[in-house]
Amino acid sequence: MDTLGAGLITMANGLFDLLISITNPLVLVVVAMALSMSWLALIERDELDRLGSKPEIGQH
């Protein structure tokens, strides 16, 4: 039981270390930039899809 507890504590510590290193402001800035760039990429892909199809208009 002690071994199990020690293992769990080690895993929790590792998780906290990971969290601390990820929440470094610089990493957060890069992640925010990457996310917004991905959003812009999605928009461009959507525009491509729209170019590839004939629009459907109820009554033309």
Binding site: L26, V29, V30, A32, M33, A34, L35, S36, M37, S38, W39, L40, A41, I43, E44, R45, E47, L48, D49, G52, S53, K54, P55, E56, G58, Q59
Partner: protein
């Protein structure tokens, strides 16, 4: 009135296929709504839709459709890497330079704020989203990253002979100011530009409305 209803219903039946009678592909969104009822389990609906999108792309656009989209993704990955690389280079070049220390971090924050504000602006100004993307690219690469990195390298090159003479003092004061103007200020200017976009264009019409108005297909002539 009843004839209108009938023709509309007929039309709905006709576009169950992937294409119109003239061979042009139909709009994807409409098809997915029509062909995938909600009774299907979620996973199957998603995989079916992905398969359908891929096969539809191959059917109508061929390999070029795939390569166009792949190059788009590669282009955006290269944007992100260029921003990180330029900021890293700037950070190294401005190391230990008075008033320009940590320039790479400023550059990174500037680019992030421009891209985040640009991405948010596409939600508010949907009809201008292509133009917003072009502006974001212009600000990040045309104003901040490339000129800023060049300036940082210039600072790095000249810092070796900076001394106490008048010319050196002037240059060593002017270059960090120029760096500030090149890298930090554009982020603020971009936010101002985006916030004033409606008043810059002086029109709240989207493309479809504007064309309808110009071509007098707006119903006002009746």
């Amino acid at each position: 009135m009843s004839r209108d209803h009938n023709s509309r219903d007929q039309r709905r039946v006709e576009v169950h296929n992937d294409f119109f009678s003239d061979g042009a592909p139909t709009s994807q969104q409409f098809l997915t709504q029509q062909q995938y009822p909600t009774e299907l389990p979620g996973t199957q609906r998603i995989t079916d839709r992905a398969t359908r999108v891929a096969s539809r792309l191959t059917q109508f656009e061929g390999l070029r459709g795939r390569s166009t989209r792949a190059s788009l993704v590669a282009r955006y990955i290269s944007y992100i890497l260029t921003i990180i690389f330029g900021s890293g280079l700037t950070q190294a070049a401005t190391q230990g330079v008075k008033y320009a220390e940590g320039g790479g971090i400023f550059m990174l924050i500037s680019c992030t704020s421009v891209s985040v504000v640009g991405a948010a602006a596409t939600l508010f100004y949907v009809n201008l989203r292509n133009e917003i993307i072009a502006r974001v690219r212009h600000y990040i690469f045309g104003i901040i990253i490339f000129p800023g990195t060049l300036l940082a390298l210039f600072i790095y090159a000249t810092a070796s002979w900076w001394g106490a003479d008048t010319f050196s003092t002037t240059v060593s004061t002017a270059l960090p100011v120029l760096f500030l103007v090149t890298v930090v200020l554009p982020a603020f200017i971009f936010v101002k530009e985006i916030a004033g976009m409606r008043s810059i264009y002086r029109s709240t019409l989207d493309d479809e409305e504007a064309v309808a108005l110009w071509s007098r297909q707006d119903g006002l002539q009746r």
